[in-house]
Symmetry: D2
Subunit: 326 residues, 4 copies
């Protein structure tokens, strides 16, 4: 393996708060360790269209607190074809890039894995997604911020939800993972969460109506994970109208605002630690791993493991939610 | 007119941030001036069901910063009938209440007006609504907070809206008034607002597409006032899909979270000033007026004027929005 | 008077939230109206050191929500001398700038006035200061944000201040004006404010102890305006230790964090309106005026008036604060 | 050991955000499991003065999001004497309380330990302190919120700190532990942290000036942990004035606002989990342990361990901070 002198950095997939903190950390740690840095715009698309720029310390000044990603992100159909990846590889070589740091979720790491296999490119992944659905890391960059955003929104909804015997369904993101819905429900004092992990096990609405929606409460808030498996908040609102017409139902779909906002301390610290660790990993000769965190220690997770496995949800939390919603 | 020794206070209609600050101000100003105070729960319903409590200084401690209303609010069908109002009046007399302070919007003041006419009850109204749609006051309690909530949500949406040539329609409240949508658009740097005031004048979507949605921009955000006159955000998203299929469209409906949250400084100060002024108004012998603010001075507005007139929107702001969205 | 084809824009003095929103509005309104725009860095210093850049629409993209000023601000001793202003003027002519838009406070407008008199330069001022101490405008860009920042800080302090009979002095900015302290006290539910406007009239601490600090309260919070006239929070803490040793005293000096943060809706809307209005003023042939707002209408105020006069504080607010702190 | 039928709950020591979430969780989990609950006001003082109240589910409604503690907290000199503890014990027996749940820091758990030893009282502790200085738990209730508060304050300070070559010292809490200062510095993108853990090892100011304060930066922010070991921010500002007079120095002492504010998602979830776990611990026959969390699992830590041991700081974070402040 040749020595690495220059890295390229890109963000890919859905954007997540803390991606800028990660870009900053990767860039500065690389420069601190004597490497050159190239910023690649719009994810893999920028590799294909050759949107590549020199990055200095100043390029990442004053961005740690900003949501979104200064490198932007985009889908790239061309990168899904061998021809497209050839163009991307040629551009990368031309730019003098010896290794790639990819910040993104499941799909982004899958892209990195294929690219690495085809061209022997050294890739290091950082888990950047609000959904927290990557195996091998306890948490992902953006998750804590999205969780707090959801909580603050539900706090506001609860302010106004104390007059009638109303049932609010609040739909949150999660892409087939219930982390945001379940933890968001506990954090906001909601009465229940409906999550994809349980969708085949039992009827979560019926369970909630039986156990949770009590007459002693003025109002109830249920968080629903956006997922084909749950059907989403509108589905449950329809069901209530049909099956429990005595309840006054409201729906709020939080939508894209969950992706934005200034990152929390946890997300910035995680991004900073993982950014520094990604450069250490490169210097140690690691390749084709995601740098994650387990039990507060940095770990390297092979792409194949991070992508292929489902991350289990802590079922004890369901018990916590139930005890506290009485 | 007899001397007033005891007031009753209630919040009615949709809740608004700052209602608690108003309850606190009315209560303390009344006690400061030697009056007794009774808190009436759930708006006019509490008068009907006799949910009335003595209020001391301590009842309103540490509530200035809280969203919602500690007195709660509810609809009351019974109060819409002469028989219901008779019951309410009897309860009021029984409780020793000489005058009512009503915090609420259009419908709440209409109720106060009828009640005052039928029973000669002394009523003072405070404008409490996020919609800012009461005539005779420059601003209403709750409006500034809702405006900031909308702005913060759109800030987050914009964080994530910079990668594709996307068109976001964000639906905000307003109840047939465009204040939140138009000012929210200026404050958040959105590209346009679609508001009910203009719905019969011209096609606001067509106007925006022609003038505002430029290819040089990565993304555009349009705020749409929730209203039958506009049709709401979904209506425009549908139209774009049919008429301008080249654009990638997304919709977010902010919903009930706009009603909640800790009030801003402006809303707390307004509520405090108007609360104090409502007691002054009573002591001066005023009755059946809404206490509002015009050009930063407290004014008394007869109920009939506050309710019946439409508050005009400042059309210059449309020009400001257009110049700034280039 | 020659036609104006190119404007220069600068921010000067203490920075204030909303300055970026103003820079954005001035730039876009100018371009919308066919003018060229040059950004001048570090206030008058950038005129002297020739730090001047072409500004396009893109230079001000995505800055409306950011605190501070992208044009930065600095003190410039050289601009206080005739020789320095000569250099500045020559640079301005060389850059093709026909008129200056200055965003800043008292000192900044004084500089503009002298410069305009000496060289016949067309200057338009925008009131940018958190202190709200400019005459001729009801409010200044940055004031509403600072007021909300103070309120949120005091909300937090109050969370923790309920156990002991403690007296907290919280020092806020204001530069010899009590707007932030007095309105901040009302907004945060503090018990009193000590402001420079009253410092020669009566002993505000004694007045507060007599009227406001009651045994029935667990804790009291007093906002103190930073000023030589008041002596600041530490001065009052010392006095309490000596004169009222029975009270347990704490001091918090909020300091520079009051200058930062994302601007509120009000500050962004004000900055947007005034920015657009400053270009209109130029096109109408106005010069050497500050563009302000009175009774929600844009007004032009001659520099001499804006600078020389003291803006009076609304004394009714003191009564509001007193009634509500019982 | 007798069966436990009724628990008493109290908060003690410095208050911390999330204490209310813990009170709610303990109360509801106890009721869910068939226990009675008594709320004890003002910490151990309320045991001594017999300020004890029945707690139902409704007593803890709508408090999860509130800072401070509804049970209040106070110092109690009497509880430090055997006579005082005798009175407290008698009151506890009279109220029918079989076990105590204590939410607090080091000193509070020490009190619990002594009380448990003397009277055989069953005590369970929950770690509630912003300082994160309890051994045996990865994090404490309140720490995450304080960390985010510090970060948001420094974000605002940085907004205004970009014009001059200024050195800001920002003093944060920590009570002889550097967690808040070090992690706060990483999260806010500050240039350095001065913490008590290193105070005897090397001169942290000199180290920073040599390594971190570079001419290429417009401004530098250093977080200083409040501690006799560091001397605090003022001490370093004095030193800079004497030893490095070329730098323009500013100081901000964040003070009590770090203790307040609505708790973050993490603090609410932690408090909820530990609250539920404390009742489980009781039901399992545990006593005189602190319920903490290690590697995201609930653990029981004997009081003696939690109190007596110093919790080590992760020294790798110092490296992260150094690499990122270039």
């Amino acid at each position: 393996m040749e020595e690495i002198k220059c890295i390229g950095i890109l963000t890919s997939g859905g954007d997540a708060p803390g991606m800028n903190a990660a870009i900053r950390a990767v860039t500065r740690a690389a420069i601190f360790n004597g490497l050159k840095v190239k910023g690649i715009y719009r994810g893999y698309k920028g590799l294909y269209t050759n949107e590549i720029e020199d990055f200095k310390t100043e390029n990442v000044s004053n961005i740690i607190q900003r949501g979104g990603t200064i490198l932007k992100t985009a889908r790239c159909k061309e990168f899904m074809t061998p021809e497209g990846r050839k163009v991307a590889y040629d551009n990368m070589v031309k730019a003098g890039i010896d290794a790639l740091i990819i910040i993104g979720g499941d799909g982004s790491l899958t892209g990195a894995r294929i690219f690495a296999q085809e061209y022997g490119v050294t890739c290091i992944g950082l888990p950047g997604t609000i959904d927290n659905d990557l195996y091998g890391t306890d948490t992902t960059i953006g998750y804590d911020t999205a969780l707090n955003t959801i909580m603050e929104c539900v706090d506001k909804i609860r302010d106004t939800a104390t007059s009638h015997e109303r049932l609010f369904f609040v739909e949150v993101m999660g892409r087939d993972a219930g982390f945001l819905a379940l933890n968001g429900a506990i954090a906001s004092g909601a009465e229940a969460a409906i999550i994809p992990e349980f969708s085949t096990e039992f009827d979560q609405l019926e369970d909630f109506i039986k156990n949770g929606f009590r007459k002693s409460k003025n109002s109830s808030i249920v968080l629903v994970a956006e997922s084909e498996l749950t059907g989403g908040a509108m589905h449950y609102a329809e069901r209530v109208k049909n099956e429990y017409p005595q309840y006054d139902v409201r729906v709020t779909i939080l939508g894209h605002l969950q992706r934005g906002g200034s990152p929390t301390a946890n997300d910035r610290i995680l991004a900073s630690r993982l950014g520094v660790a990604s450069i250490e990993a490169l210097m140690e000769g690691q390749r084709n791993v995601m740098v994650g965190v387990q039990n507060d220690k940095v770990v390297y997770v092979p792409f194949s493991k991070a992508i292929k496995n489902d991350k289990p949800i802590d079922r004890d939390l369901v018990g916590v939610l139930r005890e506290l919603s009485i």
